[in-house]
């Protein structure tokens, strides 16, 4: 943690995908507000502030979770189920970002309360535009309940690349 509040939590286990995503975040100058976790169990612990993340405060949730489905230990659907059924975390926007076009994954994700579902494009140019749109929409346009007003304050000071 570098003192900046976490705005995006990326849950992704593929190092290549993490690097590509971080490159995209850097492109839009938001990489320092992104935190990366590599498996589902860690993601749940982080968001519910359980060990090893007990020092975190639940009232400082990220503005967006980008969640892969194919994850070690606890898979993405299980993470969804867990977070969306817990009152402390159910309002956090979760966007599924996955390689799967499987109809069953889509249906199950939405059933469990995913806020959006995006298939990772093979074309990197397309991926870049996806990341820009995500940032623009979830970090700028989207309104969240008032208890995260401080986050909203910060959203106005987003880098110009996103606006």
């Amino acid at each position: 943690m570098n003192g900046q509040p976490i705005e995006i939590l990326l849950v992704e286990d593929q190092p290549d995908d993490v690097r590509l995503a971080m490159h995209a975040f850097r492109t839009f100058d938001i990489a320092d507000r992104v935190h990366v976790l590599q498996d589902g169990a860690e993601a749940i612990a982080f968001l519910l502030c359980t060990p090893p993340y007990e020092h975190r405060a639940t009232h400082e949730p990220p503005r967006l979770v980008l969640l892969d489905l194919h994850l070690p230990k606890v898979d993405g659907l299980e993470v969804l189920r867990c977070l969306k059924s817990d009152p402390r975390t159910q309002r956090i926007p979760i966007v599924v970002l996955t390689s799967s076009r499987q109809e069953s994954d889509l249906l199950e994700s939405y059933r469990l309360g995913a806020n959006s579902y995006i298939v990772k494009p093979v074309d990197f140019e397309v991926f870049l535009s996806v990341v820009r749109e995500l940032g623009r929409y979830w970090l700028v346009r989207n309104e969240l309940p008032c208890d995260s007003s401080d986050l909203r304050q910060q959203s106005r000071s987003l880098p110009k690349e996103l606006s």
Partner: protein, 652 residues
């Protein structure tokens, strides 16, 4: 002797004579006054003579009132009979005879009347009359009874006077012979009715009886209106006083029904005997009143018991039923007997003489007496071991088959699950490295362009193009494999609207192209809207792709019902002015990954038309492609059995 004396003597004589014969006589003058009386006057009349002397008409007062008129009738009647009610209440008959005489002592004609008691004679006469009457009545009654009896018994009677040859036939006899009541018939007419084979016999028997006078009995057949009648007859001959045969007569009966019944019985008995011998079944007849079962020869054949071994009791049979079946068999038999059942049927195992059990089917009919009590059962046992074995075999085969089907289904299900997992892995894992290839190539190109030779930069572009094409291939392949399993909707689909929307989208994606599209009236069809949309997308994007070399792409969309490829059905068509294809390879058009153009000319993965084919096929339709003489191509497809009539309606 003086005349006086002689008169007295004469009178005494007369008196005595009348007295002796119980008669009375009196002489009356021409005025009716009685002048002399002789004989037993008072015995006969039971009245004093003085009454008559005082009143010449007194007699009329003495007789029965009904006969008074007879007495009072005067005239020449020489004799009269009158009744007299005697003092003892009996009726007596008196005969009166009168004769006119001349008496020299009297003027005019005198009348002498003689009275006689004829009661005794009269009684005899009356008795005879009554007896005669009774005899006549009895005769009439007996004739009536006889007629009724003969009618009831269908007894006919006939007789023939042997001297005159005249025959008489009773009505019933005529009926038996088939003659009308008034038809004149003689011996010849009768013989004509007898069937030819019996005629001589009839004559022989009758002739013999005429000769020796013995009674005869005989049976013969008649042919009446083409139908055969059987007659049984008995007869005899009457002789005259000198012993000459005078009359032959007979009584006959129509026994056709009895003969037929007997024949039928004989036939059915014969049939039963033959059946029992021929059939392999063990037929049985159980007399419940004495617990006796008779078995046909089939029982010995089926179960190999010798006739000596078999005893006729029920227990002989029931002891040989398989112990596991016995209770149930006996219970069902009891049930059939105790309840109103008529038929009984049961399958069970029965022990043969060699100790082995065979499967049998046993069926019986219940016979009851008038009170409904079962007195007898008749039935048969068949060996159904073979059938049973076959049933068991079939059941086992079915079970094995079912098991195999279950195994196959399980295998198939697991194969499908594996396929799903495979697709998932393809879609998920195969794309990840492609993303890395494309992403890092792009970064290399962007961030290190200055350090790379122009050729290296070109290679990087080629690497990225390859990665993108592979991504497309993976997506198409997944779409194609999904199509085979996805269930299809059956909605009313507006094909015209879908085609129009598809054209609009394609125009939007290629804003720089000059495209002319005409869309004719397209009838609706029944199918899955989103799958059919895919058909239009693939066909129309192909049309657009392969007409790229033309300045203006011309695409015609229509529907016809007179296409030779599917006469009478609606054919949706897409025609373009593109490069067409080599018809020699038309059979490869709809195969997956098969392409008829090099990728350098026209990009593509070879999946589009395979998808079209699969969707149309799953809608029960057909799809085909033709190259047009002017170079373009034409694709047509049908959906199910949508008939041309709908198209005509739509267009008009």
């Amino acid at each position: 002797m003086s005349s006086r004396t002689s008169e007295v003597e004469q009178r005494v004589c007369c008196d005595a004579a009348f007295m002796a014969f119980d008669q009375a006589a009196w002489l009356a003058d021409d005025e009716g006054r009685v002048v002399s009386v002789y004989g037993a006057f008072e015995q006969i009349w039971e009245h004093p003579l003085s009454e008559l002397l005082e009143d010449p008409n007194a007699i009329a007062g003495w007789v029965h009132p009904d006969d008074r008129a007879i007495i009072e009738r005067r005239g020449d009647e020489p004799s009269k009979e009158v009744r007299l009610i005697a003092k003892d209440g009996a009726t007596r008959w008196i005969s009166l005879r009168s004769v006119d005489i001349r008496d020299p002592r009297l003027p005019g004609l005198a009348r002498l009347t003689v009275a006689r008691d004829i009661s005794a004679a009269k009684a005899g006469q009356l008795r005879m009359h009554a007896e005669q009457e009774a005899a006549d009545q009895a005769l009439r009654a007996s004739k009536k009874h006889l007629a009724a009896a003969t009618r009831l018994a269908r007894l006919g009677s006939w007789s023939r006077d042997l001297r005159t040859g005249v025959s008489e036939w009773s009505d019933q006899q005529r009926e038996i012979l088939g003659f009308k009541t008034d038809e004149p018939i003689g011996l010849q007419e009768f013989l004509d009715r007898v069937v030819a084979e019996d005629r001589q016999h009839v004559l022989d028997v009758m002739n013999k009886s005429e000769r020796d006078g013995h009674r005869f009995s005989l049976a013969y057949r008649l042919l009446v209106d083409g139908a055969m009648r059987h007659v049984s007859e008995v007869g005899a001959v009457d002789f005259d006083d000198v012993g000459t045969p005078a009359r032959i007569y007979g009584i006959s009966q129509d026994v056709t029904e009895q003969v037929r019944a007997a024949e039928a019985l004989r036939t059915s008995e014969e049939r039963f005997r033959i059946t029992a011998n021929v059939t392999n079944d063990a037929l049985w007849d159980w007399d419940l009143t004495r617990d006796h079962i008779s078995w046909s020869v089939g029982f010995h054949n089926l179960f190999h018991y010798t006739p000596e071994e078999v005893d006729a009791s029920l227990s002989f049979w029931s002891d040989r039923i398989h112990p596991d079946d016995r209770e149930e068999v006996l219970a069902s038999l009891r049930d059939a007997i105790e309840h109103e059942g008529l038929q009984w049927r049961k399958e069970y195992r029965f022990r043969r003489a060699d100790g082995e059990f065979v499967f049998v089917e046993d069926r019986g009919n219940v016979i009851r007496d008038e009170d409904g009590k079962v007195v007898r059962m008749v039935g048969g046992i068949s060996d159904i071991t073979r059938r049973k074995r076959e049933e068991i075999d079939i059941r086992r085969t079915n079970e094995e088959l079912e098991l195999r089907v279950r195994e196959r289904t399980a295998n198939m299900e697991s194969a499908l699950r594996e396929l799903d997992a495979f697709s998932y892995s393809v879609s998920h894992d195969l794309r990840a490295p492609l993303r890395a290839i494309d992403g890092f190539s792009r970064m290399l190109h962007q961030e290190h362009a200055a350090e790379l030779a122009p050729e290296a930069l070109e290679y990087i572009d080629l690497i990225r193009a390859g990665a993108r094409r592979m991504g497309q291939l993976i997506d198409d392949l997944l779409a194609f494999s999904r199509l085979g399993r996805q269930p299809l909707a059956t909605d009313q689909v507006d094909m015209g609207a879908i085609a129009q929307r598809t054209v609009d989208e394609l125009r939007h994606e290629a804003p720089d192209r000059k495209i002319e599209v005409t869309i004719g009236p397209l009838p609706d069809c029944i199918g899955d809207g989103s799958a059919l949309k895919q058909v239009w997308v693939n066909l129309l994007s192909n049309a657009l792709k392969y007409s790229r070399p033309r300045d203006v792409a011309r695409i015609e969309i229509d529907a016809v019902s007179d296409d030779p490829a599917a006469p009478g059905l609606v054919v949706y068509r897409v025609r373009d002015n593109g490069v067409g294809f080599d018809e020699r390879y038309a059979h490869k058009l709809f195969l997956v990954f098969q392409r008829l153009h090099p990728a350098s000319e026209f990009e593509g993965t070879g999946v589009g038309l395979a998808i079209v084919h699969r969707i149309v096929d799953r809608h029960g339709g057909r799809v085909w492609g033709r190259s047009r003489p002017d170079g373009g191509s034409e694709f047509g497809f049908t959906i199910g059995k949508t008939s041309g009539q709908e198209l005509t309606r739509r267009i008009t």
